[in-house]
Point group: C2
Chain length 370, copies 2
């Protein structure tokens, strides 16, 4: 595969809407910016049409299709950011796991990690541009195509969440507690595996930024099940390393750092720690209490979230009411509106439009009063 264009050897169009970037940096915003996790996805008829029968990973590997899918929600809604269409599970593949089949809800691995010895099967020194160049190519292409309308997100899964997939083979069926059990039974191998994954995803984030990603999010979808003890021992240290190492590596190649978001789902016990972990933004799921989270996080970090995705099944007036209550709790500054998790696949797209527009109009009203 050809090396991706570097964002920094070419001129990208100037950014017209920098609300998300400003909010992430703690700068004043005239209205609350909003985007939605999985906004490029199955709930959109145009997504289904463009994707057709293409398999999930084949879609991820097709830069022009990725570009089209990424931009679809930006065309349809007034969202303030795009997020590259990709998957957190590209990293285990790059590390050497193979996919037995891909039923459409995530890959089933032929060779999940079962014991410490299995770590030897991994290839930590894979050539990242060779393995994941399709992501960077798609990012550069999409950023050009967006023409500065909104900033483009890159992303990655967090080490624990990827470790869980690699051990529990999540898409093959429930294996609850298997990965947590591995932590307890094999603490040394666990640290080693988390470090291997961390190193890979640091490289992946740096490459995404180099290719044109203007902000990045780390998804720790299974952080909550660690609880405070295992989280502090195993995951928090590598999450801190990610934030620091990405900045260091960018500096070494003379690229400006971009804002970083950590979304550790259900890890309410970690909000305070995460707000001092080197990230600009802490993402919250719908189980978090906004005002309580703000108290724990302090005022030097931006919060993102957190309406329950099922609220988009409610009547439109209820959605607006929910947005109003959410904004009243978060306030309009140091805040990026989002759902508390990915938009659900059978959501009525019009209801996402109601959500997005309500965030804009209510927050403008609130700012006018201030």
């Amino acid at each position: 595969m050809a090396a991706p264009l570097s964002a920094h050897t070419q001129i990208f169009p100037p950014l017209k809407n920098d609300l998300v970037i400003r909010a992430a940096k703690g700068l004043r915003t005239e209205r609350v910016p909003v985007w939605v996790m999985r906004q490029a996805g199955r709930y959109l008829p145009e997504y289904k049409e463009a994707k057709g029968d293409t398999k999930f990973f084949d879609t991820c590997k097709n830069p022009s299709l990725v570009c089209e899918l990424t931009i679809q929600p930006v065309k349809r809604f007034n969202v303030d950011a795009a997020i590259i269409f990709s998957d957190i599970l590209v990293i285990p593949l790059a590390l050497g796991l193979t996919v037995l089949n891909d039923p459409g809800e995530g890959p089933v691995y032929a060779d999940p990690i079962k014991c410490p010895d299995d770590l030897k099967r991994l290839n930590p020194n894979f050539d990242i541009v060779e393995e994941l160049g399709y992501v960077y190519e798609a990012i550069t292409m999409t950023r050009m195509k967006l023409d500065g309308k909104v900033p483009l997100f890159g992303f990655t899964g967090a080490p624990w969440t990827l470790m869980k997939f690699m051990i529990e083979n999540v898409s093959a069926g429930p294996n609850p507690n298997k990965a947590r059990r591995f932590l307890v039974e094999h603490p040394e191998a666990s640290h080693q595996l988390l470090t291997i994954i961390k190193d890979a995803l640091v490289r992946h984030l740096v490459q995404q930024i180099k290719a044109g990603a203007q902000i990045v999010q780390v998804f720790d979808s299974f952080a909550g099940e660690l609880g405070p003890i295992l989280f502090s021992k195993f995951e928090l240290p590598v999450l801190k390393h990610i934030a620091r190492e990405v900045k260091e590596k960018l500096k070494a190649i003379d690229i400006e750092p971009v804002p970083m978001i950590i979304f550790a789902k259900d890890a309410h016990f970690a909000i305070e720690d995460l707000s001092h972990a080197g990230y600009d933004v802490v993402g919250l799921d719908w189980g978090a209490q906004p005002m309580h989270a703000r108290k724990l996080a302090g005022n030097n970090v931006t919060l993102q979230g957190n309406m329950d995705p099922v609220m988009l099944y409610a009547p439109k007036d209820e959605i607006r009411k929910g947005v109003k209550e959410m904004l009243a709790k978060f306030g309009t500054q140091r805040y990026i509106a989002n759902l508390g998790h990915g938009i659900l696949k059978d959501t009525d797209p019009d209801n996402l439009g109601v959500f997005v527009d309500a965030v804009h109009s209510y927050s403008e009203d609130m700012n006018a009063v201030l």
Copy 2:
């Protein structure tokens, strides 16, 4: 089925170890009492031997087998309570749902609730002694057999958790968000369904206490996924009703109330509210932070929990260390030690022994210093 013996028409043996009862009532305990969720279960070889090929619900319906299974962990470990071997899913059956098959990990319903109209299929006025008499018979028999060694727990599932099973048919496979979606799309029918379930389980708790249960626990295993907004709107009111109505109904038949525990898994946002909801004890899962929970709960409620069940896969010294840290955080008073969720099925029974004995010895040491 014959009406169960009433605890209050016969003389039960005097209770020798009332540590759990005293802790629940906020009375001083010389050592921290301990029991474990699912302590009667598949991790015990004697359980597998006694149960043999008997199907799960057939086991629940066999009072002498239930009695044997309930007492097994009391014989093997120094636990300070027994909990009747039964299942939270006896209530949906009593309400009229039918089981298509029972693969051993929970029943698959032939007729889950799909829409508000389906509520008409339920039979809220079922004869409780006819439908669930086997539970009460087992309780009376077990309390006699325990001979006052430790108190006997009764229990029930909470309304939301049972509603989720009735809508999502959890054991048939994952249907995430389906029940939460029902709440949002059909709020009136949801309140109605939760009330139907609540009324049934209030009757079930009263009958269990009448039959001899000396303390009861309400399991809200899926409370966390509600988040603070849906929890406050739908579940908290019915949980409060349960605590009040059980006491009122007992009073009406001249029976002393017993301590009540609410275990709302992952509902960390609700700890403060639950500590004022009419329960004597708030149970905590392993995601909760003991000292933070105590601050939220205040000092008028007992806390229970919360070691991560996977910690019982650790080496014995690590288990002891974990117990020591847990006790240091909870203190020795107004506290009942437990795991943060049910013991896992392939746990080494010896490790549960280590856990139980460590709670006793460390807490005695701590009390000696006080």
